[in-house]
């Protein structure tokens, strides 16, 4: 199972995402933002970081990278795509996911171990969990406050497109405690917290994050 991890200028957690794919049993494949080459991968991870230094708006420039045109086209045909933190910002900027991520309400960068509630356990990236399960994975961002118009939020909630929610504290002021959302078909998921930092007992708060990566392997087999 080949899972691509895109490196943009300023990507930081690309190595971590590749490690998580490997620990989940997949084969990580490095993808370069400037090339129109998805290298026949079965799914794509957009990693965390500060692509293009967060200049203009976080994710805005990376969303217009050459490879993103291929990602958007393939995602619309069902290619599983996971955007983590900066990757989530890129997905919103590229139009694959609704809403936007703005400056944290308290204006600080915040890194902590965060409890999440898995609201949807039937997306391509969350099937290893059960609905209602609580998991702990790190959150770390300065611009992670999820916002959308109230009507849009109502629609997302109505369509069941909130994938994970913050519980026991909202670290950044996100609307309705939303930590992650998905596309209509549940193949594209974006979230601010970092599952790739919770894949080893040694270096993370636990291994709760591994499920995102085992899920997609199952989704690819099923497809």
């Amino acid at each position: 199972m080949r899972i691509g991890v895109i490196t943009f200028p300023g990507s930081l957690d690309d190595g971590d995402a590749a490690r998580a794919v490997r620990l989940a049993g997949g084969e990580p494949v490095s993808l370069w933002h400037a090339e129109h080459d998805l290298k026949d991968v079965d799914a794509v991870v957009l990693p965390g970081g500060f692509s293009y230094g967060d200049y203009l708006r976080a994710g805005a420039i990376a969303a217009r990278a050459p490879l993103m045109r291929d990602v958007v086209a393939r995602a619309r045909q069902g290619l599983p795509v996971l955007g983590i933190c900066n990757g989530f910002q890129v997905l919103c900027e590229s139009g694959l996911l609704p809403g936007a991520l703005t400056r944290n309400s308290h204006l600080h960068f915040r890194n902590r171990d965060q409890q999440l509630l898995v609201a949807r356990a039937d997306t391509a990236w969350t099937s290893s969990y059960t609905a209602g399960q609580r998991i702990t994975i790190p959150v770390k961002n300065g611009e992670g406050r999820y916002v959308a118009a109230p009507a849009e939020l109502d629609r997302l909630e109505g369509e069941g497109r909130v994938v994970v929610r913050y519980v026991n504290g909202n670290p950044n002021g996100s609307s309705r405690d939303i930590a992650g959302v998905c596309s209509e078909d549940g193949r594209v998921v974006g979230l601010m917290p970092h599952p790739e930092h919770a894949v080893e007992e040694l270096t993370g708060p636990g291994t709760d994050g591994l499920g995102f990566f085992t899920s997609v392997l199952a989704a690819v087999v099923a497809a």
């Binding site: 200028p9 930081l12 971590d16 500060f50 967060d54 204006l107 960068f109 915040r110 890194n111 770390k140």
Partner: protein, 761 residues
């Protein structure tokens, strides 16, 4: 006015030059004339003035720092003092380079950018050695926590350290945050970076090979940072440069762009991997002047630079300003002509501008041309390595005898109140408000980070080999006795590394002191260096490098001497590391080491009594060594489930942090005088918890380390039989409320820099 060329300088030997405004003394200016056999050109004068500044030349500290070079040779040391950073062998073919550097004055003037570029600078030093930077730490000092100016400086500094390091993708694994009035006009921002490479990948800063190209790459050169070490932005100077009047005043603090630095890191590592450079140097203080003169000085030949080739972001810069600019995120490489195309291709891939600006020559001069005219022609060694050296007068502080004679109180009137006061003081309180602003997880190799005693990073995912790092700099001890104080800081950092289970291996330092022109400060400095060197000799550790920051004072008042000491240790297997914090009920709490009634310079004396006096705790490096060996053994054999060093705030502080980490209390009994038991800061002590007290006792006895059983973990309070009971909820409230109450407002206070500041380096 026309351009000041070498030819013009020879013809006009008597032209007056603003050497004093550039910080040079009359005899230093005369020495430059003697070296050149003529007056220096404007550009040459600028180069000498910055390179002969205290910051670049170490002219006051050099005679003392030689003590570090005189330490016995260490097998672990691959590259020693003199390069950008020392390199040590950590086994399995891995080498580690680490260094701390200060950015104190810029951080006072402009907290965010000052701190951010402090991180950027030390990261480039580590990168320059050929290593991939893998983690950062920060050691911070501010004035009184409730002072209005602290509210201006601290939030900006923390955001700057975080903003730059987070954007580079480097985990922040630890550090210090302490407050004292003496830093009110002069905060300390010391940043550490550590990098990892294979032995064969070590790079050096020297220009070799006639005909090799000098490539400047990274950010374009702008006007920022000029005047950081001088008054180059003065109008007088602009007027005389090339007839054009540049912008008269430019910010003396550099502005950081971590995104560009991230690209620079990746480009450099790709360039190193393809073996495309013969020498490399980063551009930091004194910019191009420093990089070119140091590269040429360390090599065998000369160097020719065509200054017109330097990419500028401000076309009005004069040649002297281009040579002096401290624009960030720039590097200078020596590249063989055949490799230049490949080098430039890597830079293009990473969108890093790169330009050939000169070449290595077979002469022994560094020459710089501008608009076809020669504006610099100097022997590079005289600029970079043969600056003035001073043996400044020294004298113990006049108040030292009285200070040492003023013994602190030794008995607590209310143990419970004192306990809460110590742990809720700004120094003792929970630092989450700060550390939450730092990414600790990026790169996925952080095994331990703050609030642990040491940061631990895995360097090999297969073998689980790793490193541990701790930074400590108690200035109260150093004020009372700088010789002992420096050694106490060394001992604490050494102990902290060992507490994690690592074997201590090497030492770095950042020596923050007042003005070297004050004999009392110079004495403190010399004593601290002597102490550190003696301590390292006794512990068998090499000093791999360091940084000296002088002139840390407000007006006439110097800061307390603040030698911040960093110790690096090695973990053969990071999965055996010992974390802090109690997780399980029913474990035995043991105190390793001996407690004596020692309150001089203690947190308790400072917080409860506002007292600083007497003697610091007695140093015992033999006991430290035995304790460290014991901790390494306990970790390897998996005999303890947690460990925490006892230092500032004594046992009360250590117990508080251990209990609150995971919300596990304990019932304890304390023998002897309770004030000493709880608040003494006797050295060589660690609190451990274990499920096998017998085995720990046996190991400690074999190591000659005294053991005291304190009690058993469990419950939701810290209970000291017959003395006090502290519910964890109450303790947590006291410990966690302090920093948010002081700095909780997210808005960065807008303030002005009070008069009397001396922004230099």
């Amino acid at each position: 006015m026309s351009l000041d060329t070498v030819e013009l300088a020879a013809r006009t030997p008597d032209d007056e030059q603003p050497y004093a405004e550039l910080g040079l003394r009359a005899e230093e200016y005369q020495r430059i004339k003697d070296i050149l056999g003529r007056r220096p050109t404007t550009a040459e004068l600028a180069m000498y003035s910055v390179m002969w500044s205290e910051h670049c030349s170490y002219k006051s500290s050099k005679v003392h720092l030689r003590r570090f070079g005189d330490l016995p040779p260490s097998d672990a040391l691959l590259v020693g003092i003199g390069e950008n950073a020392g390199v040590v062998d950590v086994g399995d073919g891995y080498a580690v380079t680490f260094k701390v550097e200060s950015h104190n004055h810029p951080s006072y003037v402009e907290p965010y950018q000052g701190a951010a570029t402090g991180v950027g600078g030390i990261v480039r030093d580590i990168l320059t050695m050929g290593a991939r930077p893998v983690a950062v730490m920060d050691s911070l000092r501010f004035g009184r926590a409730d002072a209005p100016d602290t509210a201006r400086v601290l939030p900006g500094v923390v955001a700057g350290v975080g903003g730059y390091g987070n954007c580079l993708g480097l985990p922040n694994i630890g550090g210090e945050l302490l407050f004292d009035d003496c830093y009110a006009g002069n905060p300390l921002v010391n940043a550490l970076c550590v990098g990892v490479m294979r032995h064969e990948d070590v790079r050096l800063a020297k220009a070799e090979g006639t005909g090799n190209k000098v490539v400047l790459f990274g950010a374009r050169t702008g006007g920022d940072g000029i005047g950081g070490v001088s008054v180059l932005a003065s109008e007088t100077f602009d007027d005389s440069a090339d007839g054009q009047r540049g912008p008269a005043k430019r910010p003396s603090v550099q502005v950081g762009d971590p995104f560009t630095e991230k690209l620079l890191i990746e480009a450099c590592l790709e360039i190193f991997a393809a073996d495309l450079v013969t020498g490399i140097q980063d551009l930091g203080g004194a910019g191009l002047s420093c990089a070119t003169s140091e590269l040429a000085s360390a090599g065998t030949g000369g160097m020719h630079i065509d200054l017109d080739a330097v990419p500028l972001r401000d076309s009005t810069l004069t040649p002297a300003e281009i040579l002096m600019s401290e624009s960030q995120e720039r590097m200078c490489a020596i590249v063989e002509p055949d490799e230049v195309d490949a080098f430039l291709a890597v830079c293009r891939k990473w969108d890093v501008p790169a330009t050939v600006i000169g070449e290595v020559t077979d002469g022994d001069r560094l020459v710089v041309d501008w608009h076809g005219q020669r504006i610099v022609d100097v022997p590079p060694r005289t600029v970079a390595h043969e600056g003035p050296v001073y043996e400044r007068p020294m004298a113990p502080p006049a108040d030292l005898d009285a200070l040492q004679a003023d013994a602190p109180p030794s008995s607590s009137a209310d143990l419970r109140a004192d306990w809460l006061a110590v742990v809720s003081s700004p120094d003792g309180a929970d630092k989450t408000w700060v550390t939450e602003q730092y990414d600790r997880y990026v790169r996925g190799n952080t095994v331990l980070a703050q609030p642990e005693d040491a940061g631990v990073v895995r360097i090999d995912e297969q073998s689980n080999r790793g490193i541990a790092l701790a930074l400590d700099g108690n200035a109260r001890f150093a004020r009372l006795d700088p010789y002992t104080g420096a050694q106490l800081n060394l001992a604490e950092a050494y102990r902290n590394v060992a507490v994690s289970g690592a074997r201590p291996l090497a030492v770095t330092n950042c020596l923050n002191f007042g003005s070297p022109e004050e004999p009392e400060v110079m004495w403190q400095f010399a004593e601290a260096v002597r102490g550190l060197a003696d301590g390292c000799r006794e512990l068998g550790l090499p000093v791999t490098g360091g940084n000296v920051s002088l002139y840390n004072q407000t007006g006439e008042t110097a800061i307390n001497p603040t030698p911040v000491i960093g110790v690096l240790g090695v973990h053969e297997d990071v999965t055996r590391r010992v974390p802090g914090g109690w997780r399980a009920d029913g474990e035995t709490v043991l105190l390793l080491g001996e407690t004596r009634p020692e309150f001089g310079g203690s947190a308790w004396a400072a917080v409860v009594h506002g007292h600083l006096g007497g003697r610091p705790p007695a140093l015992d490096l033999t006991a430290e060594r035995a304790l460290a060996e014991l901790m390494v053994r306990l970790a390897a054999e998996g005999l303890v489930s947690s460990a925490h060093d006892v230092a500032d705030g004594g046992l009360a502080q250590a117990l508080t942090e251990s209990a609150l980490r995971y919300g596990t209390g304990a019932r304890l009994g304390l023998a002897g005088d309770p004030t000493a038991a709880l608040f003494s800061e006797s050295v060589a002590r660690v609190v451990v918890t274990t499920a096998d007290a017998g085995a720990v006792r046996a190991a400690a006895e074999a190591a000659g380390v005294p053991v005291t059983e304190l009690g058993t973990t469990g419950g939701d309070a810290l209970v000291v039989d017959g003395a006090l009971e502290l519910p964890l909820a109450e303790l947590r409230e006291a410990w966690t409320a302090t920093l948010p109450a002081l700095f909780g407002s997210p808005e960065v206070a807008v303030g002005t820099v009070p008069a009397g500041t001396v922004p230099t380096s």
